[in-house]
């Protein structure tokens, strides 16, 4: 299994999902070799053997570096826009960069490469190196595995390389697509190409929701026969709900996540303004940060509701739990959300949740309130109802709590095992 990160050192939700998956697979008697670019050594290895790609030297396999690059079809050119350079200057700079990269690549050939394992500026370069090292690792462990499982586009090249070198079947797991990261008109075409190539090369594609499945089929043109939905789950073991003393006596409605276009933060603001016209006994909180944050702050100021609408900035660790514990209603108005784990966390804390119909989580949550992301009137109605009709809030909190506790990775992993069995001859 190729991943990009694994708890405890994670930047996004992918690492947490991978941990849930390998634990679920272990419970279903599936053993996992988990490859990641940069392991720290403090990962929990009870469910999977962790292989740190930074420890593995690239073997002298049949390919030369150039051939390998050709195969992976990758040279990283011009991630940096250079303003005010004339065309000659620009092409000279690009050429210099290309030569440097080929040189860097050659150095790593036959040697270990220290991955950052982050999501930095040289991400594309790391993705390509990960493919080289991944191929090597697959050959070294050829006799120990039956299926290759690759998580999200960062690892697809590694999965493809492993498949080509070993002939083992490839399952790719789509946690998100380019269409969930940018708006439809502004997707990263390089990432799109990698994603599409991975999906085409794969024997099976697992998607985290039917919503994502339809994107994979519709936007990437993948044969519906080989695309299978396995909904995410969430692992709450070892989690105790925090008791936090409240400072404000008003009810609190919370949005928690990256403040970016696809999370729909501005619909939340509009709904908040509508609710505040009806009642003042409520506060709204937008927790997180992102490229739309400043725009949202201005939007709130323009509406004149800053005394009831608060921003916390980026929250980490226990502050996230604290924020849930302080909330009366949780809202996820995403425009496009492959799954969306945060409402599950909210419901687990006993907070009724309103989620957009355009989220994968809406497919599995019966007791969350569902609205179209653009329907701020419906959103405002639901917020108002949850704040003012205690019976409704109590009901959705207790039913929601039971519901999310039933979403176990063991069940999801059992479905993945079936997918594996369908491709292993």
């Amino acid at each position: 299994m190729f991943g990009w990160e694994f708890p405890p050192h994670i930047a996004g939700g992918l690492g947490t999902a991978c941990e849930g998956i390998v634990k679920g697979l272990a419970a279903n008697d599936v053993q996992t070799l988990f490859v990641m670019p940069s392991a720290s050594g403090d990962e929990d290895q009870s469910a999977a053997t962790i292989i740190n790609a930074s420890d593995v030297a690239v073997d002298t396999v049949s390919q030369t570096v150039e051939e390998y690059l050709d195969k992976v079809k990758f040279i990283h050119i011009g991630t940096n826009m250079i303003p005010y350079a004339d065309p000659e200057e620009f092409s000279r700079l690009v050429e210099e960069d290309r030569v440097r990269q080929v040189k860097d690549f050659s150095i790593s050939y036959g040697q270990k490469y220290k991955f950052s394992g982050k999501y930095g500026a040289n991400l594309m370069e790391e993705v390509a190196r990960y493919a080289m090292v991944g191929g090597t690792i697959a050959l070294q462990h050829k006799d120990e595995f039956d299926v290759i499982h690759a998580h999200d586009w960062l690892t697809y090249y590694a999965g493809i390389a492993a498949k080509e070198l070993t002939g083992k079947p490839l399952v790719i797991h789509v946690h998100a697509t380019s269409f969930d990261r940018g708006s439809v008109d502004h997707i990263d075409t390089r990432v799109f190409e990698i994603e599409k190539r991975g999906m085409l090369m794969a024997d099976r594609v697992i998607t985290v929701s039917d919503l994502t499945r339809s994107i994979v089929i519709g936007k990437y043109g993948i044969d519906p026969e080989k695309v299978v939905t396995v909904h995410n789950a969430v692992d709450f073991s070892g989690r105790e709900n925090l008791q936090v003393e409240r400072g404000v006596k008003e009810k609190t409605v919370t949005f928690l996540g990256r403040i970016t276009y696809q999370k729909g933060p501005e619909y939340f603001i509009e709904a908040a303004a509508k609710v505040l016209k009806r009642t003042r006994n409520v506060r709204f909180v937008m927790a997180g940060s992102g490229d739309m944050m400043n725009r949202c702050i201005r939007h709130v100021a323009r509406l004149g509701i800053s005394d009831r609408f608060h921003f916390t900035g980026f929250l980490r660790g226990v502050d996230v739990q604290k924020m849930f514990a302080l909330s009366d209603v949780y809202i996820m108005p995403s425009i496009s959300e492959p799954f969306g784990i945060s409402p599950l966390e909210a419901m687990r804390t006993g907070v009724p949740s309103i989620i957009s119909k355009q989220s994968g989580a809406a497919e599995v949550l019966q007791y969350a309130f569902k609205v179209d992301f653009w329907d701020v009137d419906a959103m405002a109605d639901d917020i108002y109802a949850l704040l003012h009709y205690p019976a409704l809030a109590r009901f959705s909190a207790s039913m929601g709590y039971d519901e999310v506790n039933a979403l176990k990775w063991n069940g999801a992993a059992a479905k993945m095992k079936k997918v594996y069995e369908s491709v292993v001859k």
Binding site: E245, G247, K249, I297, S306, H310
Partner: protein, 416 residues
């Protein structure tokens, strides 16, 4: 007697900086200030500027007697911090006051935008500041200068009503047109109020450009400067040099020679004989106003625009401003001293300045004075504090209602 005058006026102010106040603190912790930063910064500036420059001025007054005069306005926020963190600064100002050669002006206690937000709050803060100057420095201010030299016809009228006969403001180009700032003018709405206008070009030569080595006029000497002053005031009466007091030793470091320059300036001016030094009060006694000045929209001494856009130019600033002044009425009913004090500090113009988004033309100046990385952070922090304050205000108001209801009930019983 010299036929022309120079009026030197220095502004002393330190903001009460807010601590990092998070959403989680709202309703739980009502201490809003970054005491450590406030103390550290104040002590540093006291060492670099206030104490050495006060000593220099005292020395000059000792040497030239009543021929050398200056004026100060010290905000109440600064006076508060001097008392807490550097009482020796108060003593040194008091020593200057005792010479009789130094005039102290009135302003809003909290260096606030109250003149734009609330008439009653404006009057309240001016009275509070006047009382503080009287008790700490032993002199009664007669001349008014508003926060950041903010002025309009309407503000002028209100200041005149408070009993001031002279007010300082900016010789803003868009107001002056072809007119020279080097005369006394009068307020269009209230002709009895005299106006002294800052000569921004000559003031900024000292305040902003003095140590700039890429300035073609660098280095600036007292003789060279006097020649410019004479050139500027060929046909005119008075040159008003108004600047932040922190210019001396803080904005312009001691190593730039700023103290030597100031030591040499009175000698150069007085031996030349064209100019004498006057305080603002003396200036308006000595010179008659040459015309009235129409200022329908507020002006100030800040930024290229010389208007109030540094504090109220964007939607964040306007929102915060509207929210804080919307509390005035409720607060006057509650009347709790602690709430009044926090309310005052929350009105300091600096908080709004930190939310300014004019990065380009005056970005450098804004950045220098700003403890926040972005205006958005400044806004969020301020609004969090204001939310806590609003909760306390509402609670105090509710408690008052309960008390009044109980008193009313008691009286009703007695009647029976």
């Amino acid at each position: 007697m010299a036929s022309k005058s120079i009026c030197l006026y220095f502004q002393v102010h330190q903001p009460t900086r807010l601590r990092l106040y998070r959403f989680f603190d709202i309703g739980k912790d009502s201490h809003y200030y970054d005491d450590f930063a406030n103390r550290t910064i104040l002590r540093r500036i006291a060492q670099k500027c206030y104490l050495p420059m006060n000593a220099l001025l005292l020395d000059l007054i000792g040497r030239y007697g009543d021929k050398f005069k200056v004026a100060f306005s010290i905000s109440g926020s600064a006076l508060d911090q001097f008392q807490r963190f550097a009482p020796d600064v108060i003593d040194s100002f008091r020593a200057l006051a005792d010479t009789g050669c130094v005039e102290f002006l009135a302003e809003t206690y909290y260096h606030s935008l109250a003149s734009l937000g609330s008439e009653t709050e404006f009057a309240h803060q001016v009275a509070k500041h006047k009382a503080a100057v009287e008790s700490l420095l032993g002199v009664t201010p007669k001349v008014f200068r508003n926060t950041e030299l903010i002025y309009s016809d309407a503000i002028g009228a209100q200041v005149a009503e408070m009993g001031f006969k002279t007010m300082l403001t900016e010789g803003a180009r868009h107001i002056m047109g072809w007119k020279s700032p080097n005369f006394v003018y009068s307020c269009a709405a209230q002709p009895k109020l005299r106006l002294l206008l800052r000569n921004y070009s000559l003031s900024d030569d000292i305040a902003f450009r003095f140590s700039n080595k890429s300035w073609e006029m660098w280095p600036l000497t007292a003789e060279k400067y006097l020649a410019w002053v004479k050139e500027s005031a060929k046909q005119d009466d008075i040159v008003n040099l108004f600047m932040d007091y922190e210019t001396f030793g803080e904005h312009q470091k001691a190593s730039s020679g700023i103290f030597d320059f100031m030591r040499a300036l009175p000698e150069a001016v007085l031996s030349d004989g064209t100019f004498d030094f006057v305080t603002p009060s003396q200036a308006t006694r000595k010179y008659k106003p040459v015309a009235s000045l129409d200022v329908p929209d507020a002006i100030s001494w800040a930024d290229e625009e010389r208007d109030v856009s540094a504090w109220l130019g964007n939607e964040l600033q306007q929102e915060a401003f509207n929210k804080v002044y919307a509390m005035t009425e409720k607060l006057s009913i509650v009347g709790s001293p602690e709430l009044w004090e926090d309310f005052g500090h929350l009105q300091e113009s600096d908080h709004f300045y930190y939310m300014c988004t004019k990065f380009f033309s005056d970005g450098e100046v804004h950045k220098y004075f700003n403890p926040y990385d972005t205006p958005y952070e400044a806004f969020i922090n301020y609004m969090n504090v204001l939310s806590d304050f609003q909760i306390r205000l509402d609670e105090a108001r509710a408690a008052l209602d309960v008390r009044e209801a109980a008193v009313g009930e008691l009286r009703g019983k007695k009647k029976k």
